[in-house]
């Protein structure tokens, strides 16, 4: 898994590629914690190149969403597709996450 963070329209865009599984989830949590430490409470997570997510990844996403809510912020998710979308929908996460068809649409939703 690879994580790249860039700024767009004043908000961080976190692009996650590869597999978000039990092995890589620590890197994802670290990236989230770094954003929190920098005071970032509104950002986009771009899953365009994420090919796989397991319950370990879902747990990290949920933990970050709860933390953001406590901080009065929010993450908007862009380009959730394929098997990743299938897992997100299967587990009911589609109803608790802010999902958008593009990074631009996600940025506007923040």
């Amino acid at each position: 898994m690879e994580i790249r963070v860039r700024e767009s329209a004043g908000a961080p865009v976190v692009a996650v590629s590869g597999k978000l599984d039990a092995l890589s989830v620590g890197d994802y949590e670290e990236a989230m914690n770094r954003l929190f430490a920098d005071g970032k409470a509104r950002f986009v997570v771009d899953f365009a190149d994420l090919t796989y997510i397991s319950s370990a990844g879902l747990r990290a996403i949920l933990a970050a969403a709860k933390e953001l809510k406590a901080r009065g912020g929010q993450a908007a998710f862009a380009n959730v597709r394929g098997n990743v979308l299938n897992v997100i929908e299967m587990t009911g996460f589609a109803s608790i996450l802010s999902l958008h068809e593009s990074v631009d649409a996600a940025l506007k939703a923040l």
Binding site: Y52, S55, L62, K66, N83, N86, V87, T91
Partner: protein, 148 residues
């Protein structure tokens, strides 16, 4: 059910029950599924189910000592089957409650989705204790809707 479809890639693979073994197991599973013509998206779902079983073994099967897990893949004209075994204490996943997937963000607990995903991603899911080992058996039907 007689499973006669052993292929060159179907020999059991045994690795330490530690998370860094996950890619080697999933690589074997993926190669075997491809050899037997399993649709890639379904094979990926089964690979995800494998991760959930394997992570559970890593966390719970060997609390004191290092242990191992074994993956066996088999196929016939109707099914693709994987078996994951460990020699940890007996474990009964039927004791794991079904998660509530309808709650809002505050109501959703962290965790508890692994066994749910396993049940959803495999067409058949069985667990048993056999010769001192926990055996988890996951089956994909080649034709959706069952073998009958």
């Amino acid at each position: 059910m007689a499973l006669e479809g052993a292929c060159p890639c179907c020999a059991p693979i045994t690795k330490p029950a530690i998370l860094t073994s996950l890619p080697a197991f999933q690589e074997r599973l993926g190669a075997c599924a491809a050899y037997h013509g399993i649709e890639p998206s379904r094979a990926e779902g089964l690979s995800l189910a494998f991760e959930e079983v394997f992570v559970n073994i890593c966390r719970h099967a060997y609390p004191e000592d290092a242990g191992e897990a074994t993956l066996t893949c088999q196929a016939d004209a109707e099914c693709f089957v994987i078996e994951i075994t460990d020699s940890g204490p007996p474990f009964d996943p039927s004791s794991v409650p079904e998660p509530d997937l309808t709650g809002d963000l505050d109501a959703r607990p962290l965790g508890g989705l692994g066994w749910f995903l396993i049940r959803r991603l495999a067409d058949e899911f069985e667990c048993c204790r056999w010769e001192g080992r926990n055996v988890v058996r996951l089956v994909l039907h080649r034709h959706r809707g069952g073998r009958a």
